[in-house]
């Protein structure tokens, strides 16, 4: 027991938020690198977990897109002659709306970094609003397509279109709820104490959902 105690800054990454670790007192080890001092992980828990969540999501959509491509490539004629064509123009504009929501989300993170709580809430609301607008336009186009006779069960064309775009829409909807909850929490004054994990995770997920869209747009609408 010594009286020499060095105050170490709390390392939030190895504590589970419960118990700050006591840093080791130096020395030890069995190689030339005899220093088991605390490491600073390049990515914190939230970023790392979101990265792996995105990996899993990519595999999920990878399954859907590859299945779509198999059916698309083996079909004799695509799209089937009597089915409506997909609304490329409207959807391209809609894609820009979705991109804009990603910009709003990035601006919200900027506001968080500057501790501007009002701008944070406003920009989160803007991101959610643009995402909602994207979904509404998509829904309207779906209603029109259904009225033209393209349904989930009409053939492989309808099956793949509604499944892929619907899977993405479900993810946007889920992310939208998440953004709304985070915006509500931010309005109530959370995230001012530096514990911004849920917000940062939400922002990463939102960017992922936006980035996923152009791939589906090209695969389903354009080729």
């Amino acid at each position: 027991m010594t009286t020499l105690t060095v105050e170490h800054p709390t390392d939030p990454r190895r504590t589970n938020g419960s118990l700050p670790p006591v840093p080791p007192e130096g020395g030890g080890g069995d190689g030339p690198d005899r220093d088991p001092a605390p490491r600073r992980p390049p990515l914190d828990n939230v970023r790392l977990a979101m990265l792996f969540l995105i990996c899993a999501e990519v595999m999920f959509f990878g399954g859907l897109v590859s299945a779509f491509l198999v059916l698309r490539v083996t079909a004799a004629v695509w799209p089937p002659p009597l089915q409506p064509r997909l609304p490329v123009g409207v959807t391209a504009v809609n894609t820009l709306v979705l991109f804009a929501s990603s910009v709003a989300m990035a601006a919200a993170r900027q506001a968080l970094r500057r501790d501007d709580a009002r701008a944070l809430v406003r920009r989160l609301g803007l991101a959610a609003g643009l995402g909602g607008a994207f979904l509404l336009v998509q829904g309207y186009e779906w209603v029109r397509l259904v009225s033209f006779g393209l349904t989930l069960s009409s053939d492989a064309y309808g099956t793949t279109f509604y499944s892929l775009i619907g899977a993405h829409a479900a993810h946007v909807l889920g992310a939208l709820v998440w953004v709304a909850v985070v915006a509500l929490l931010a309005a109530r004054g959370r995230f001012t104490d530096g514990r911004t994990g849920p917000l940062r995770a939400c922002a990463i997920y939102w960017h992922f959902v936006v980035a996923l869209w152009p791939i589906l747009f090209v695969a389903v609408y354009l080729i």
Binding site: P36, M59, L64, S163
Partner: protein, 583 residues
Amino acid sequence: MSAHSATAHAHVDHARHELGFVRTYIFSTDHKMIARQFLFLGLFMMIIGGLLALIVRWQLAWPETAVPGLGGILKETGGILEPSTYNMAFTMHATIMIFFVIMPILAGAFGNFCIPLMIGARDMAFPFLNMLSFWVTGSAGIIMLSGFFVEGGHAAAGWTSYAPLSAVASYTGVNWGQNIWCISLFIMGVGSMMGSINYITTIINMRAPGMKLFRMPLVVWSLFITAILLLLALPVLTSGVAMLLFDRTLGTNWFKPAGGGEPLLWQHLFWYFGHPEVYILILPAMGIASEILPVFCRKPIFGYHAMAFSMIGIAFLSWIVYGHHMFVSGMSPALGMAFTVTTMIIAVPSAIKTFNWLGTMWGARMQFTVPMLNALAFVSMFVIGGLSGIFMASTPVDIYIQDTYFIVAHIHYVVFGGSIFGAFAAIYYWFPKMFGRMTNPFLGHLHFWGTFVFFNLTFFPMHIIGVGGQMRRIYNPTQYEFLVHQQGWNVFITYSALLLGVSQIPFVINFFWSLFAGKPAPLNPWNANTLEWTAPSPPPHLNWGPTLPTVYRGPYEYSSPESKEDFLPQNVPPVGAAGARRH
């Protein structure tokens, strides 16, 4: 001790006392309690899966006679299995054993228990997500079991659920059963994703000071790689079962040729998941064996780095071999050749592991404790299962033995002989730490020898009747003239299987007796080096007192000349090192 750690200590005590019954035992965020929950889930499901297997065996030995004990359930037939019931029994046996026994026990229970304790963390990176992962998986299990009670019975298209058999309700006569199968696996996929994200994040970011990646115990390495495989493989199954469910309920056309779909697509999606899946089932058992062998050989593991890298190699190769399940599904011969070659290459890292286990045992003064015996059974049975795997990797051989009992023998040597013996080894090895009590060695030996002998008597003859032509999943082998002469084997296998079931009774008695009345376990009953043995038995909430252990060396320093004893725990500072431990 600094003031800093004194407050931390107070925090530990505080956290232990304020949780009520529900937060401690049911909705617990403590990784050790979640591990126990996964273990109980897996063992409970194992009873159901095992009974289903015995029902299948009864039908194969004495076709179309009343199965004892089923008279009350199958009232219309008086206990005789109809073909549809038989299909349901083997489908659900495999589904339950793979998704709700081996995965919860190996990845769920021992993943949760070992990872934080062995890397020196107080809990998982996301304890709440961890709790959610158990309850999502548990609900998937309940949903899966509910399928037995719906109109038309449970899924009956085999655990692989090949389309279009599974995609159209009238083909199997099963309507809601198959839907429930899809829904349950979808939910299970979500639960498993939560778990694997947690495992990977914890291992990367939460290791104790000094716990470098290459000082991690091999079981943690194996769980790390398993979690990566789970993370990347299961979403593909999730997308596949979603498509299958949509085909069945919403009328989509993914797998139905009439609407422009492609039945073979299911096989690609399924096996793209399915082959990493078999390594998900075996890798944790490999890690467990690598952990237990050095402890009871009192020798360092042979080739630690080779062990870690061969697991990485297996994980990588597991993505490019899946086509060997589809040699007869209609595949370009050139592509089949490529899959043959990759499959044979995957035998190389597996052989590296096997020879390293042998190298660990070479010249050792082995202690034949119950966990050690189970680990040895794992190594030897894995060799048999692995070698028959090389047979069927070769396309010309596989075309002959495809869908025969040879395949059934192979998968059971790998999954029962491998994974289940690994699970038993892990249960006996970590029971003292998990529950704070020792198991009874006599009952343990009885259980091990019964299981080992009757396992081999059950599954080895399946190679013979498989080469003799008996098809997998047939309802009644005596209907085929060319199989009648093998019926004696079928009867023999069923007797062995029944005795294999009886051999599990000592395990159940031992487990529950030891849970309540076993000898209290000391801190480190096996004189092992890894960090979990430095925590109390059972470890309290947050695992260690105020100070986390500091790691100074790798996990397998047995019989080291540096130490007077024959083991040198990871957290003991080297003699004469600067700043040796003062606590």
